[in-house]
């Protein structure tokens, strides 16, 4: 616990506050932005470093690691997606790695970043960007835009026909349209909320564990941390998989 005189409610509240500028809609969560951009830059730099030093000979350890991820992503994409777009696979990889790395931030002790930054006069800091719906919705909305884009550019007029005739047949077109619209618009919400919910709950449990006396924390803390590694991997994979599935559905008629 950062300050012993805090009540547990206040402590949790303290950890739920973002570092913000602006007000109303024009608020920026500086913690979410800085951590996710920092991770994005690290990730991009690392991947670029590997790409530049890549060779077709026997791979080194780092190169091998990246190759494993790329092969894994490529296999996953090839299984579901049969179109020609070269965007899907890199997009899926970015989704997977970025979400995974942002989730990893949860493994830092919950008070570590806030307390360090407090020394520099920063009042609140939430270190897990994916526990902020802004981050998860940003990804799911990007993917939704791509889905809409591919639906329109690839299917053209047949998209309109599809929206009216599927899934209940042409005579129930007045049911088909709202059904399909709902189906499409639900996608970004489920994508974003699933990830957000998992990460938020994970963070909350870390905070609750951090409120225990220090000699009790060790066991539940390590168990939850190990479990959390599994959770972020699964969440990253699910997000990536659904991205690929939604985009390939946009390419193929139902």
């Amino acid at each position: 616990m950062s300050t012993p005189e805090m009540t547990s409610g206040a402590y949790i509240q303290h950890h739920m506050e973002h570092l913000t500028v602006g007000s109303g809609f024009w608020t920026l969560h500086l913690d979410t932005l800085s951590v996710s951009i920092f991770i994005a830059v690290l990730l991009a730099g690392f991947l670029r470093y590997i790409a530049v030093h890549m060779h077709a000979g026997v791979p080194g350890r780092l190169q091998n690691m990246v190759e494993v991820v790329i092969n894994f992503v490529q296999d996953t994409v090839n299984e579901t997606y049969h179109g020609k777009s070269t965007l899907i696979a890199p997009l899926a990889m970015v989704v997977f790695l970025w979400i995974f790395c942002m989730g990893l931030m949860d493994l830092l002790p919950v008070d570590f970043l806030p307390n360090v930054l407090q020394l520099f006069g920063v009042g609140h800091f939430r270190s897990v960007p994916t526990a902020d719906p802004n981050a998860t919705f940003a990804m799911s909305i990007s993917i939704f835009i791509l889905v809409v884009f591919y639906n329109i550019t690839i299917k053209g007029w047949s998209l309109g026909v599809e929206m009216l005739t599927k899934p209940f047949g042409p005579y129930l077109f007045f049911l088909n349209l709202p059904f399909r619209l709902l189906e499409e618009f639900v996608k970004p919400f489920t994508l974003a909320l699933r990830l957000f919910g998992n990460m938020f709950a994970g963070e909350l449990i870390f905070i609750l564990i951090a409120m225990m006396p220090w000699w009790v924390q060790v066991l539940p803390g390590s168990i939850w941390a190990i479990f959390h590694i599994l959770v972020i991997t699964i969440q990253a994979f699910v997000f990536m998989m659904l991205t690929v599935v939604y985009l390939s559905m946009a390419h193929e008629t139902h």
Partner: protein, 156 residues
């Protein structure tokens, strides 16, 4: 849970990250992956080809060995045949030569016997005349007694 401008910032970050990966990370890595895949495939193909060649070579070795054995057998057989023939020929030639030598010797011997007989005959005639002269105590005219002598010699 509040949605605000952060969303836009995150959208931009995500877009830039995806663009960067699409442009500067994915192509080189997949290029080299494909290249390595090709190299490995070529290597495996070459190994398979080499194995096939080895099998073919082994087969060829076996057949060549068989042929060589056969021709060696053939050569030995030929040589055997030829040597028998040569021995046979030599034997025949030797026999002929021997017969010829024997015949020539026989001929020489016969001639010499004849000559000796002639010489003995003539000497016998003279001896007979000389003996008769001794007996008759007078010289006999060999020529006068030619007819008688010839008759006598012919009887011997």
């Amino acid at each position: 849970m509040e949605i605000n401008l952060t969303l836009v910032g995150q959208l931009l970050t995500f877009a830039v990250l995806v663009w960067f990966t699409l442009r500067y990370v994915w192509p080189p890595i997949t290029h080299y992956l494909a290249e390595r895949e090709k190299t490995i495939a070529a290597g495996l193909e070459a190994a398979a080809a080499a194995q096939r060649e080895l099998a073919a070579a082994e087969q060829q070795v076996v057949s060549l060995l068989g042929e060589a054995k056969q021709s060696a057998n053939h050569i030995v057989e030929e040589a055997n045949k030829r040597s028998t023939r040569i021995v046979e020929e030599a034997r025949l030639a030797a026999r002929e030569e021997g017969q010829r030598i024997v015949a020539a010797a026989r001929e020489d011997f016969g001639r010499e016997v004849g000559e000796t007989r002639e010489a003995l005959r003539s000497q016998l005639g003279q001896l007979a005349v000389a003996g008769a002269s001794k007996i008759l105590r007078r010289n006999l005219d060999v020529n006068a007694q030619k007819e008688l002598l010839a008759e006598f010699v012919a009887e011997i």
